[in-house]
């Protein structure tokens, strides 16, 4: 018995390492670029977007995994999209009701979680082939990986672009480089982050 639980523990750690570091959906797999760029103007927006996407990822992975034997192979993508769209509508309405300010600032990008490639990619490559519990765990870890990546980009952009972090003023009300709050800054910060990840990966590969 202890051996089994030990194995399960290793698996969970493995899931987290996979979702957050080794196969980080944004920095390594390069999926879900639109929300990463569009909702990373402030850390609060990024956390909201990350939480919404994580919720959808867990629920859709769980539902798709439960239904994986019922969904015919030929129309599986359409079926996945309907399931995902259902959960996205739920989170959209919930956010409008309970956090209207956040819902307003994320705007169009909440319904657009439907076409976030991370969610469809996990449904297709993981949830359709695995049991419900690992699938939900995969959704959770991938969601956390996405949220962390989004928050890194957003923290840099908020500090440089508006001189605040989570709304607190850092430099006495002045913005050091307001360009980072604008669309161009989003591309720039994300480009440098991915370059950093590639640099770290190549160094790790070189020492081996």
């Amino acid at each position: 018995m202890p051996k089994v639980s030990n194995e399960a523990k290793i698996n969970i750690a493995q899931f987290f390492r996979n979702g957050i570091i080794e196969n980080n959906p944004t920095f390594v797999q390069l999926l879900g670029m639109c929300p990463t760029l569009a909702t990373s103007t402030s850390l609060l927006n990024a956390l909201g977007m990350g939480a919404a996407a994580t919720f959808v990822l867990i629920c859709s992975n769980l539902a798709i995994s439960l239904l994986r034997k019922l969904i015919p192979q030929k129309i599986r993508i359409a079926a996945y999209i309907v399931i995902i769209a259902g959960f996205v509508t739920m989170i959209d309405l919930l956010m409008q009701a309970f956090v209207p300010a956040l819902s307003n600032s994320l705007g169009l990008f909440i319904p657009l979680i439907v076409v976030n490639c991370i969610i469809l990619a996990r449904a297709e490559s993981f949830a359709s082939k695995n049991r419900p519990l690992p699938s939900a765990l995969d959704g959770l870890t991938m969601g956390i990986g996405f949220t962390i990546a989004l928050s890194c980009v957003a923290a840099v952009r908020e500090i440089l672009g508006s001189g605040t972090l989570l709304g607190f003023e850092l430099f006495g009300g002045t913005a050091p480089l307001s360009i980072f709050a604008l669309p161009a800054g989003g591309f720039l910060v994300l480009g440098f982050f991915i370059a950093l990840v590639q640099f770290l990966k190549s160094r790790k590969g070189g020492t081996k």
Binding site: I81, L93, L108, I194
Partner: protein, 196 residues
């Protein structure tokens, strides 16, 4: 909004230059970065998106105002639209294959990718939230898609030249593309002063 030559002109300038789909609104970034390595594939993708987006603006407007609003099912907007777009893409693909094989061979491989292009769904939802009429929705869809085509074409031209440059290793591939996009976005910021 009243339809006149002036209002259509303002809409076109806004959609193509001031509020460019990729570079300002961050919609459709995946194809923008994914299929912009060569100019001809970029133009093919741009035209396929223009075609689908104009059609989908038309159909989603009809679906929303003739089916969802009378039935008081506005909250099903996201599900209804994504299904309409997926079905439309499938239909257009089959129709083109049978009717216009030459166009199909040019656009064919890009069509399935468009279902998950967030720009198509994004514009369909924007048309509804902005309360555009039918004609304005179609025009908005078309102009936004032309803005996308312009951006992806310029971007592909730049990327073709970058191929031959000596880029530091960590920046090769995706990062340098993003930094190029940032510079392009800087250029398009020049238009943001043009308020109508």
């Amino acid at each position: 909004m009243e339809i006149s030559l002036a209002s259509v002109f303002v809409l076109a300038i806004n959609a193509v230059l001031v509020e460019n789909l990729c570079l300002v609104k961050f919609l459709g970034i995946c194809p923008f970065l994914g299929v912009s390595k060569k100019t001809d594939t970029a133009i093919g993708m741009g035209l396929a998106v223009t075609f689908i987006m104009t059609l989908s603006s038309f159909i989603t407007w009809l679906v929303y105002h003739l089916i969802l609003v009378p039935a008081k099912l506005e909250y099903l907007r996201t599900i209804a639209f994504i299904l309409v777009i997926a079905a439309l893409v499938q239909f257009v693909e089959t129709a083109l294959k049978k009717l216009v094989p030459s166009l199909y061979s040019a656009l064919g491989i890009y069509l399935p990718l468009i279902t998950t292009n967030c720009a198509v769904l994004g514009i369909a939802i924007t048309n509804i939230t902005e309360n555009y009429g039918l004609v304005f929705s179609i025009l908005n869809g078309m102009f936004c898609a032309l803005g996308f085509t312009l951006a992806i074409w310029i971007f592909a031209c730049v990327r073709e030249r970058i191929e031959h440059c000596d880029i530091p290793k960590p920046f090769q591939g995706f990062p340098i593309a993003l930094i190029t996009a940032a510079l392009l976005s800087f250029a398009f910021m020049g238009f943001s002063g043009m308020e109508f």
